[in-house]
Amino acid sequence: MAENGARADVRLTIDGVEVTVPSGTRVIEAAERVGVVVPRYCYHPGIPTRPAQCRMCLVEVEGRPKLEPSCTLQATDDMVVNTASDAARTARQAVIEFLLVNHPLDCPICDAAGQCMLQDYAYVTNQLESRVDEPKRIMGRDRISDDILYFADRCVICTRCVRFMRDVAEDDSLIVAQRGDKAYIDTFPGRELDNPFQGNIVDVCPVGALVHEDFVFKTRAWDMDSAASVCPGCPTGCNVTIDTKENQIVRVKPRHNAAVNSWWMCDYGRRHLVMTNRGVRADVPLVRDGEQLRPVDWATALDWVAGRIDALGSPGGSAVVSPDASNENLFYVERLLGRLGITGAAFIVPQGETAALPTVPTLKLRADRAANPAGAELFGGRRVDGLRNGASAGGLVVLDDELKGADEDFGGSADFFLYLGTRLAGAARNADAVLPIATFAEMDGTFTNFEGRVQRFHQALRPPGLARPGWMVLSRVLARLGDGEAVNDVRGAFERMAAEAPAFAGLTWDGIGLKGAAAAGSGAEAAGVAASAEADA
């Protein structure tokens, strides 16, 4: 830090490249600016404490007699840093060799293989055979919480997990027990971790020591596909990566976004997201044929629905939308409701317990258990406590609400009951037409989070059967009614929404990027959340 507290810039050389960084920046972070990732275990950018105990990030600084840990070393003017000198490399190789003394080398059955920092760095040292002929000490595995397993033999005691719990979650219940080569991570004997954010310890583990039980032995890292997404568990909208295998979600990891979730997410979100695509899905369009719902192809279904709406004119009526629907779906539904003369779609938000991560004020598990209630409000939705049963004439449109608590004859008195849904809810069987749509994980789109931040999510899964994204379906219904064009990709849907919905004015699909942007007039905009100016600090 510069004298008198001013944040001046300092200029230093790292691996022959000059770089200017703010005073106070650590060398390990300055190196990343020139594309040099110094090997590290104990350092994690999201964990405030830096014990410099793993000794992996040692670098050589010209004019200094000993190697220095770059995670704590402050960059200063004219410093000349060499991250890959012979001395630095030798030191790193020694660390790896010591770590491998007792490591079981069980990569073939380890879930981290392919995404393991020990594997990567050991590979780089190119030491193919161990010089140790003593037997390895064997410790086995333990259960850290109801869904986290600890493989003690793989652990490198970087203490990232311990420090996440202590310094980020402020729950000092995970510790290092014993010492030396007998050291292991443990809770108090007979107790398990019980923190709503404990799943993050698995994400920070640089090796395969901590594994979620629902992921263990499920897939190899290189067999997974990944998509950038947003957690739909609550309106916080934590940025996540969805890992899939054979069209199933197998793992969810938080994706860094300094303005929303930092590096973390809550366990509820994790479990909720993994469960998103379970259950029996609606996968074929259905239209009413007397007492029956008859499966038809899309062209028939769309023509039939458009024909019915055209014939109805503008009878008014009611609508129920899901607060989990994407902005684009909600936008197109609003257009359709306008056509039918329906205003103010009702939406019901399930409620749950809240949880906060003490050191990250922006990250909360909020009481609203839905992805997009803010979006539903932006499109004129009315938050209601429960479904209104009873007779109502005119049109009835339901967008992906599961109609819990609906009467057996729900919608029976409507002149036309259109159900767009991912699942065929009980009351949806009263509909005149059921159009199967994709879940958020099966399409591209955006959610608006609690503070009005519009965030993109990307397709992670193939939708089942004939299910298609809601915006794709609705744009086709509207096109048949002479309102706009059928869109085939989310850009088209988003651009039309940005052009016609004032809250989204000025936003572009590319401009939102992977970190989101503020909707017009939202709290996020007032707070100065810019689309691209966000620093990844």
């Binding site: 000092d172 219940s173 995970l174 510790i175 290092v176 027990a177 014993q178 010492r179 443990d186 809770t187 108090f188 004997p189 007979g190 107790r191």
Partner: protein, 198 residues
Amino acid sequence: MSRRIHPAVVGAQPFQLTARETFDGPIFETEEGRRRLEAALSRYPTKQAALLPMLGFVQSVKGWIEPEDMVEVAEALDLTPAYVHSVATFYTMYNKHPVGRHFVQVCTNISCHLNRAEEVLRSFLAETGTREGETSEDGEFTVIEAECLGACGFATVVQVNDRYLENVTPDGVPEIVAKLRGARDGAAAGGPAAEGDA
């Protein structure tokens, strides 16, 4: 002789063992417990700093520290039980398993080794009828192999609770064990004893 390491890890007793039978139930609700806790708290700027003395106190009255004691210490010092567990297991001189009334540690490092320490150890095990790290059935003895006790000039060195017995020979062991059996505690053990500095 097997060299397995028993969980009852090597360690000296920071305090003299006293009548541990008098401490049934919560330690910090006894007169002595309260007094010790207050004394420790008054000596340090933070409650956390009193952790080592309090663990030492528990061990001095019970001979070992069991999980329930860790919970008690944690509550007394506003720490989490997990943290106390971490500290208690880091230091090998806190016994996490019960030991006999006489906790015998035989040094087998180089000086003692050259002076037949292995035989001394075997002799102790034979006299007490235990295996290494095991507590005898009458609860009198736990014999364990120790790393250097820092008295190489007086090899073989044996530590009984917090007292050193020096120049111990295999032949002298039966007499030592007999005396210990008769003694109220380790303080009365025979031999040329030096005060152990715990």
